[in-house]
């Protein structure tokens, strides 16, 4: 057993030992910064005790789930302790008759869905990473194409337990879908990137697994035809589960998934054919090939080099967004994978990394076209030139007050933001 430490002197050594405290290694590095120590608490209470010890001793803490999005955020200041939720990985209850499940934060979404599948249900979050955990997707509010139908994790979350920096474990929300008792702290930590408290478990409303599905992939070489088709589908009464766009250079694709009864899928595909009559190709995909199409759409970008930014826009602004990207693509190749109905997506900027910051600033310079340009993946050189979160908002003071209320010692997230 490793001897424990002068590190976190105010923390109970029993907690430190049971949390497998060890020194950080290069494998634990966050954006190039190697943490001093790593702990893997085995219970919510132990996690809370570690936070309290860190707060007393002024140690900076970064929370880690599957570690799939650790590079998101500003470059960290020195990190004293990474707290991993790896051992908080149980599905606590699956109340399938009530379409809800309570699950510990370190559980990978994929493992959760394997469990839920036994009763024909799932948590419809199709974030792009296999090892992404429940806590991680809530903290980043990350989502994929299914957002079109099911929303983002915050829309599915109905209750949480949080470990606070004062060592307490507190509850907000509950285990029933309809519940307005008390403040919804689950919403507050959604998108907080671990900067307010640690999520230790979460309760979600679930969805029945779809009986059947079909995906239509339609290609357009003419951007005008693409945007007219998107607008026609948006105004139609079709109800797809996913309605995506993929654009690289002059090739644009619309990807639409229908999940329903076979008869309803057929009827909707036939109607869609009428809306997409100007497409250069119209392909129906089902089965394993369909899964591949969506895997490519969500993951392709992450498997390719370059900076990745998240951006959003008013859905009807799509023509202006595409023009802006075409303009920028003159300088470096640009890829867009987007939720057409929602008005949000990821933009990948390739080429010379020194031009990335300029491209990101170019996007931010057009707030009438795109809003909320947040850098998700970028090299240190790029992050040094721009703030990954974008400019300050008019609620900074409010966020600051909330941060001080939850993390008065300022130990969480090592300056990575967003608060």
């Amino acid at each position: 057993m490793p001897s424990v430490p002068s590190f976190l002197p105010s923390c109970d050594p029993v907690i430190l030992r049971s949390s497998a405290l060890r020194e950080g290694t290069p494998l634990d590095a966050i954006d190039g910064v190697q943490p001093g120590h790593v702990a893997e608490p085995a219970s919510p209470q132990a996690l809370a005790e570690l936070l309290a010890g860190a707060a007393r001793d002024g140690a900076s803490v970064v929370l880690r789930g599957g570690g799939t999005k650790l590079g998101w955020g500003r470059q960290p200041k020195p990190v004293d302790l990474v707290i991993s939720t790896r051992r908080l990985n149980r599905v606590l209850t699956h109340a399938y008759g009530d379409l809800t499940a309570t699950v510990e934060a370190g559980t990978p979404i994929r493992a959760l869905n394997q469990e839920l599948r036994r009763h024909g249900q799932w948590l419809p979050i199709d974030a792009p990473f296999d090892e992404a955990t429940v806590g991680g997707v809530i903290a980043t509010n990350d989502s994929g194409p299914l957002r079109h139908r099911h929303g983002t994790p915050r829309d599915l979350l109905i209750g949480v337990h949080l470990a606070m920096t004062d060592g307490r474990v507190v509850k907000a929300g509950g285990t029933v879908v309809k519940n307005v008792a008390g403040y919804d702290l689950g919403k507050l930590v959604s998108g907080s990137h671990g900067s307010l408290a640690a999520i230790v478990d979460a309760t979600f409303k679930l969805a029945p697994l779809p009986g059947a599905s079909t995906t239509v992939v339609a290609a357009f070489h003419e951007p005008g035809a693409l945007v007219r088709a998107v607008s026609a589908v948006s105004a139609s009464q079709l109800e797809p589960t996913a309605f995506d766009l993929h654009v690289v250079a002059a090739l644009g694709k619309i990807l639409i998934q229908f999940s329903s009864t076979p008869a309803a899928i057929d009827a909707q595909v036939e109607e869609l054919r009428r809306w997409l009559v100007t497409a250069d190709s119209f392909e129906l995909v089902t089965g394993p090939a369909e899964a591949d199409v969506w895997r490519g759409q969500t993951r392709g970008m992450w498997e390719s080099p370059g900076s990745i930014v998240r951006a959003s826009w008013l859905p009807a602004n799509l023509p202006a967004v595409l023009s802006l990207l075409t303009e920028m693509a003159g300088e470096q190749p640009i890829q867009l994978a987007a939720r057409a109905g929602v008005g949000a997506g990821l933009i990948r900027i390739e080429g010379n990394s020194s031009a990335h910051a300029a491209a990101i600033e170019g996007l931010r310079a057009r707030p009438g076209v795109v809003g909320h340009v947040v850098v998700l993946r970028a090299e240190a050189a790029v992050k040094q030139q721009i703030d990954v979160w974008g400019g300050p908002s008019d609620h900074e003071a409010l966020l600051g007050a909330v941060k001080r209320a939850f993390d008065p010692a300022g130990i969480l997230n090592a300056g990575r933001g967003p608060v």
Partner: protein, 482 residues
Amino acid sequence: MDQRLLDELAGICGAEAVLHEPLQLLTYECDALPHLRSLPAAVVLPSSASQVQAVVRVCHRAGIPFVARGHGTGLSGGALPAKDGVVIALSRLNRILDVDIANRRVTVEPGVTNLEITKAVAPHGYYYAPDPSSQQVCSIGGNVAENSGGAHCLKYGFTVHHVLALEVVLPDGEVANIGSPVVDTPGPDLLGLFVGSEGTLGIATKIVVRILRKPESVQTLLAAFDSIDAGGEAVSAIIGAGIIPAAVEMMDSLAIQAAEAAVHPNFPPSDTILIVELDGPAAEVRSLFQIVEETCRRVGATKIEIAPDDQQRARIWRGRKAAFAAMGRVSPNYYVQDGVVPRTKLPEVLGKVRDLSIRSGLRIGNVFHAGDGNLHPLICYDERVPGESDRAVEVAGEILRYCVEAGGSITGEHGVGADKAEYMSQMFTAEDLDAMQRVRLAFDPRNLCNPRKIFPTPRLCGEVPGPYRAHPVETAGLAERF
């Protein structure tokens, strides 16, 4: 209240927009939970966001508590005035500022009613999804404060799922924009926190909501059953088949009788009726509706009616949505509660409620959103009978206890307000509540913004605990309950 402050408020909103005579104030002494009453020192009726901001600044500077009020339809005393405080009534902020069909967004002021949004976009084939039963009169600002639901939230979610951005006057009079018409505002979800915070974190002065395309097809079925259990079994089987209906509602015999007496929906006389509505693409609704119908027959429906057109559908919904108000036809007084249980616990909890009704000697009508386990027990009593009002309060508290014990909640959509603050400790520990209080203090360090709501505190002086009594406006025949 100090005359100089009244003058200052009049300087902001105009003298006619500041009420301070006791008779004028009476209208504002309660919301739709009239057993909790408290006279404010003044009521101001601002007509713009900047006036709201100026009024809040004055209150903040002078240390005067203030309470925002929409159209006063809340059922938990959320708009109960603070003693010696100011009520900021938002009924004059009632403009629809922007209808943007291409982006499926509507921008409104808080005093616009829920249904006005749908009316504004219906000609374009769109609607606003959350549909509380009071939607004809309740304000969207109030919906934001309470995170209102409605019959269709089983499939479409609550207010929090349909609001994109808020302009908010914070308790110190600063203005913040939270959320944004463009999605994915970085950082903690302050919008999600604010929606449902019951007016304790600030006052929304501008609201951007998302509208939805009307579904291609809607089908509504009404099934009668001999018992609540049989109706409940139908609901379980429908949801077990992987179907998420747009709405699943149940009413028991007392609620059915009341609805018949009030609005004559011509419901079949029975122990229980179940209303199931499916919407979506026509082919999907057709095939799933068949499963719903077969399921109802299989578990023993004694009668099934399928609404052949919009008019008949409206008839069914009229009967359901009038149920609360209709209780006045069968009982001199009634008290509505808003507990939630996991759906699978409905039969067990309703059994307990039935026993409680027998034990207490009070009739209890049940109207509930069966799809999500949200109960609205209507406890009948006669305030002229000594002790009966107190018994109704005890019965309501007992029902909420059953809900919490079954793993549910003390409120599904009406809010905690002043009415249920004392029950919060049944659901949350002192530490949970302390974490929430910290958020409140981050927004409102001086505790001026809708104080004494949500969190358990000793009862207010002069506050009479107890169930429903007619609002003066109702007694005068000027308004109906929803």
